[in-house]
Amino acid sequence: MHASLTADGALGLDGVFRRPDPRAALSATPASAQQEADQRRAAWMAAAQAGDRRAYERVLADSLPLIRAAARRQGVATDNIDDVVQETLLTVHRVRHTYDPSRSYDAWITAIASRRAIDALRSHGRRDRRELHDEQVLDMQTDHADAARDTEREQEARRLRAAIATLPPGQREAVEQLALRERSLAEAAEHTGRNAGALKVNLHRALKALRNRFHGDS
């Protein structure tokens, strides 16, 4: 039923080239139950696109196992899976208009999660290569090895990411490009197509908004 509803598969290309079912690795749930769950999530996402907050929160919560499964399949370490989940949720929020309710929701979100997992693997690879193994440097870092502080820092990072997600698109883009990805103004301008002045103004406004939010929280 679902496959016959493809909106633009006039050549049937996606039908012919369909990937293995992304949910197959999740559980031994019968195919019909998986299909029902997919259709349920598709209906929720369609409602979310129309502005239904309850449906949106449901579909995102229901997607967490799918995202984790996709991250695991790409080989993301258990410690980093939650980062992939957060990045995927933020991406889904930005690109929710690209979902076509006549097609599989699970295939859509699995593709996004897989891409974010690959990004996470690359980013960790880069970080690992940059790491210094000098003993002196390691000595200097001993006070950072405290697990409780690491956890606290991770939680703060997640709170910050959630706050960034609520910024207007231009400000969010400036924070992501200049602060999170540590790009120079020129690089960020090249990537976003915006001029350096606009990026600077957006970053300034975003930092002000975040400062207000966190001062308000504390």
């Binding site: 939650d82 593709a111 997600a165 090249e190 990537h191």
Partner: protein, 217 residues
């Protein structure tokens, strides 16, 4: 327990800023919109140059007609494939869609070089004359690529470089199709080489620049 609560906190935050969104039209419709712009440019060129010369050339040398048809089909299928790759969950095999039309385009252009007679209404280009073709293809490819990149930035291309290559192929093929309207040179090795150089340059620049511009999502 802290991890799930973090996720749910983020979900709450995203839910709080939820606004209705306008759904992205299907890839074929978006590709058709871009092709309409190409058709509008073609209409302007037809008004300026007329269609007589092109039809005379095509009637006299069918390989030129097949090359033109191949270029138009390559532009349409590459644009369609690029828009399909802009939607998460679509197969990467969409990228194969323009391969057959591109083979027709390249093959028919190459066959034209083997003819030992000159197509009507044309001359064999001298060593410096095909530069005009190169300029034409690049000059038209720039705005057509920019339009495709702008349209695709509203989507979510998860394979930005592959999508950018298809954007380059679509705009270079569309520019070569437009050139067909006013192309006064017969197929020859120097002309074919210039066209190939222009197409490869457009695809390479798109892969380098377009890939970055599409990656920011």
């Amino acid at each position: 327990m802290s991890e799930p609560s973090n996720h749910h906190r983020l979900i709450d935050a995203l839910g709080a800023e939820l606004v209705p969104v306008r759904r992205l039209p299907p890839p074929w419709r978006r590709a058709a919109g871009w092709l309409l712009v190409v058709a509008a440019i073609a209409a302007v060129l037809f008004v300026h140059y007329g269609s007589g010369g092109m039809l005379r050339r095509w009637a006299g040398a069918p390989d030129l007609a097949w090359a033109g048809v191949g270029a138009v089909l390559t532009a349409a299928t590459a644009a369609w494939a690029a828009f399909a790759l802009g939607v998460p969950g679509r197969s990467a095999r969409w990228a194969w869609l323009p391969v057959a039309p591109a083979l027709l385009w390249v093959g028919a252009s190459g066959l034209g070089c083997l003819r030992d007679w000159i197509a009507p209404g044309t001359v064999v280009a001298g060593p410096h004359q095909p530069i005009g073709c190169l300029q034409f293809i690049i000059a038209f490819s720039v705005p057509l690529s920019a339009l495709l990149i702008w349209l695709l930035r509203r989507a979510c291309p998860l394979r930005p470089v592959l999508t950018a290559v298809l954007i380059g192929l679509a705009s270079a093929a569309a520019s070569a199709s437009l050139l067909e309207i006013c192309h006064e040179f017969d197929a020859a090795a120097s002309d074919l080489l210039t066209h190939a150089l222009a197409v490869v340059a457009v695809i390479a620049v798109n892969a380098a620049m377009g890939g970055r511009l599409l990656r920011s999502r």
